[in-house]
Symmetry: D2
Subunit: 345 residues, 4 copies
Amino acid sequence: MIVVMRADASAEDVAGVVARLERQGLSAHVSEGEERTIIGVLGSPIDHAELGPALEAMGGVDRTVRVSKPYKLASRQFQPVNTIIDVRGVKIGGPEVVMIAGPCSVESQEQVLRIAEAVAAVGARLFRAGAYKPRTSPYAFRGHGEAALDMLVKVREQTGLPIVTEVMAPGDVGVVGQATDVFQIGARNMQNYPLLEEVGRTEIPVLLKRGPSATIEEWLLAAEYIMAQGNKQVMLCERGIRTFETATRNTFDINAVAFAKKETHLPVIGDPSHGTGVRSLVGPVGLGAIAAGADGLIVECHHDPDKSWSDAAQALGLDTFRELMAQSQAVSRAIGRTMAGAPVA
Amino acid sequence: MIVVMRADASAEDVAGVVARLERQGLSAHVSEGEERTIIGVLGSPIDHAELGPALEAMGGVDRTVRVSKPYKLASRQFQPVNTIIDVRGVKIGGPEVVMIAGPCSVESQEQVLRIAEAVAAVGARLFRAGAYKPRTSPYAFRGHGEAALDMLVKVREQTGLPIVTEVMAPGDVGVVGQATDVFQIGARNMQNYPLLEEVGRTEIPVLLKRGPSATIEEWLLAAEYIMAQGNKQVMLCERGIRTFETATRNTFDINAVAFAKKETHLPVIGDPSHGTGVRSLVGPVGLGAIAAGADGLIVECHHDPDKSWSDAAQALGLDTFRELMAQSQAVSRAIGRTMAGAPVA
Amino acid sequence: MIVVMRADASAEDVAGVVARLERQGLSAHVSEGEERTIIGVLGSPIDHAELGPALEAMGGVDRTVRVSKPYKLASRQFQPVNTIIDVRGVKIGGPEVVMIAGPCSVESQEQVLRIAEAVAAVGARLFRAGAYKPRTSPYAFRGHGEAALDMLVKVREQTGLPIVTEVMAPGDVGVVGQATDVFQIGARNMQNYPLLEEVGRTEIPVLLKRGPSATIEEWLLAAEYIMAQGNKQVMLCERGIRTFETATRNTFDINAVAFAKKETHLPVIGDPSHGTGVRSLVGPVGLGAIAAGADGLIVECHHDPDKSWSDAAQALGLDTFRELMAQSQAVSRAIGRTMAGAPVA
Amino acid sequence: MIVVMRADASAEDVAGVVARLERQGLSAHVSEGEERTIIGVLGSPIDHAELGPALEAMGGVDRTVRVSKPYKLASRQFQPVNTIIDVRGVKIGGPEVVMIAGPCSVESQEQVLRIAEAVAAVGARLFRAGAYKPRTSPYAFRGHGEAALDMLVKVREQTGLPIVTEVMAPGDVGVVGQATDVFQIGARNMQNYPLLEEVGRTEIPVLLKRGPSATIEEWLLAAEYIMAQGNKQVMLCERGIRTFETATRNTFDINAVAFAKKETHLPVIGDPSHGTGVRSLVGPVGLGAIAAGADGLIVECHHDPDKSWSDAAQALGLDTFRELMAQSQAVSRAIGRTMAGAPVA
């Protein structure tokens, strides 16, 4: 970190900063310029996340400049090669672009089996469906809970598709973990630190959705929370951010997909269903995410989307999903990657 | 709810919507206009929070229009008179404007006692300090936890000030509840539904911070989550929203203060410390919140702000706090309210 | 438009709304429901853009619902087939995806010729460079003006590439129009109505950049301003919106690309240079825009990007540009379109 | 400016940066630290507004840090004492808080006279009304233009109130300037640089509205554009920014009011009418702005707001305006300022 003093800072101001740094076990390298003094901070600033604001509140300090990243384990500086996560044999983060598909929520055993078989037949590699659903309104349907987890286990048994499902509370990590192959951390829980730490203490891969107003840095710090507990198998999922635009439910941040691929070694998944909230935009934006470097997509689909219990406006019908698979394969190949497809397609 | 059909909607489209409504136990009133058909929905739409998007995904539907609010218990339509919350004799939401003050986090017994005595002496009515601190970085100081709760109990015993402190996980509600007089739900947890429900099952008042990217409607729905469990003692706290502006840490949404006072019967508290993140702006923006109708302020202060362990950039020194108390009293009186002050002031 | 009255609206309230509508030459169709009265507005609401807010301010009115679009000429309802704009033989909006390339600003005759020849050689179809540069700071380089226009004319003569350049003031439309083949309206001027109308009175195609905080609807209304004056040759250009994210200069709104293609018949161009502001992200995001349906890209490039006078951080070097052309061709073909390429490539 | 090199930067990288700086007439002070090299830039960076991004695009550069402000004339560093603008004897920026009131647009001579007399009677000091109206839709009412200017002149003659009215195009500055006492630059034109420069060449005070997505820094740079042409009489007007919130039309940025008062010597005016867009919030938010330090308010009012031709939803009736004047006086006094009032009030 660099501390830039004000032009009118006094010698005591400088001494005050130096003393403060030393009190926290850091050392200071004072360099007096023509116009201002600049203080370099030596030591490990990552352990002092709030040092910057604290110093900026001191007399004579103009600003501080962080020169190292606030995250470490998630950074490509720490690990240059891509992390490849193996979920029951499906490799995420490697050359293959992976499709994760399924309905918003588990409605019945028949519904999940029917959808899972249909998406597996055209190349989906993992199955997603919510057993526990976070809802903005306390009066909305919130999922079948444990009963739904059993239905998901049966889906895996019958179709071979590994399961992705959301966990919402630290106390549920045990029970959900017995059923699922990937924990989904929902967007509203991206900064639910007790929850992040709890999944960080397991060995089950985590799909970490970006909060709708989280910066990319905060998203990577949330991954860091999980990784710091020992679980390094984190996939980052961009699912749209909140902006002023109202024509779409969220704004899919394609920049974040490309940026995260450069900055970290973790797999990045695009969620065009929540990222747009509009059925007719899911396909084009999903293809865009693949072209920009996403390692996979997570897409909501339903055998009868108009009868879907939740998020109906964004669920694809199975025919549309099949078309998206074909187009996704074509775009994946155009950028030198592969994608599983329908046996005949 | 009103369903507006497209100009080119067919008779089957209309029949499909009617059937869908009836399947959910609602009834439909079809009115054929010159250009389009409009369908009124009769029944209780509040129990069908996702009905709108589901209908909008159906064939022939142009859009749906909600005519009732998605929240009920929090609404002034449900309860026209102001809720006044009594915290050990301090009444919040009545004619008195109430100051809640204290440091960001509990650092030591001596620190909290010293600050509490100083703020009590000039008119603060409640004491705030964090025992558990949510932090963006896993490497930052996260509070002294239970030991800090004991120090806060001692503060109440010695100064008489009731305590406000944050609870971060459903499993901590019991232990925090034994110490605190008001649960604070932090901004990052505004949509942590298991936590909201857990505090909703207690009888302890809750200070509910608005999430930095939550709409006012989502904030009121979060209050509804708590109230729906039985706990009606909720204070809404505006603490700044996330916008494109970077000169300040957040953008204090003064509109939301005024809007929430019109729309709900719950007390509204302004947090200019987080709402600005800049020490020199805390005072002016806090006075603005009072003038706009806030029932109180929650302000960070410290006897030695430059040595504060966290959020130093926004903590007021005790002299500045004293001035703010005097100015707050003057503004409160200008709009016909009262505010406690220093014995002599 | 539909006017939804409040549950407690009186007969006089309803009569007031009806009278107000009739005063503006519209007629009303009152429908009394069980709980509330709803008033349908007959006539041409597009001529009454502010009728909604005016009605919502009246006694007894709960809200108004617009059922028709606020724009007409730009809408696919008005013209279902794609507009194809012919710029000296280059067709924009048809099956071919078109690359527009060049430096941020005209620095010298030699510079623009050199870059134009290089980009033409690998398949760019139009040349872009600024003669007049809008700058946030009054102290920044603002372009060579008319002298630069002459240099651009020479570029067209020598390379055959049609020219795209920005016009900033209504009074400059004449002089810029004598040189350019496409007027660029910059993001800051998207709602400069006198300027929009002035270019609307010419027959020269217009590339209309979306304002960084303009909604898609406002963007289409800006196109409508131009088209309403007679000039129907408008290309929409998405160049990133302003959000809370700071890791990138803007947030490229890929949703808007896909949405605009569905909603209007106008060509849509993606600008990943401004849309990201980060050189290493220009390629991935540009490919994403093509995959999502953009009819072309506009990309900043420079033969020596580190010496570029402006926007250096986002300009591609010529080698990188060549790679992007090859990848863009591959992605274009993957989605069933064509793209010009290098003779041999 | 400080250039922070990457840890792995080579000696050539450093030499490249030094050469680049020298090419632009600046000199470099290289300081080699233990881990990285830091380069201080000596000279006048304000003349090199885009130097930062250009350097950041160079090999081996990690980031640049601006240490001086990008604006100068607008800064309190340049002029510590408040600018007080004298508009026909009304002093703006001094101890008196000033009310500017009137309808959104000039509808008729009778209308403006009636409203002006009413607001003058209760203490308004300037009269505002639009002759030229920027409108999002090309189909909306856009003002009576020159005829309206004549009506405004008559208002001044009969009531003595100086006039504030908007100018939208550089070519209109002459004709509007003959009528008005203060030019209003509308929010959409905050970065219309030819217009800013044209009013900058007059001696008529300017009320500069902040663009709905302009940062505070961009707003001050827009003021700098005007001041750099010689006209130092600029008032800054906060009128709400665009955020994700939809319950209000804009989000009034009260932080910006307080910040601008600290950072610049220019008067700051609050516009709670556009800042909220909701009639019932105009009063509370206007009082908040005064409490936070605004030097005045600009408020829309109408003798029959439900019949107002534009912006009806936010216009105050005259009775409500009278109440707001009384409350504004009370709050102004509470913070040690004065405000004109009704003779008897």
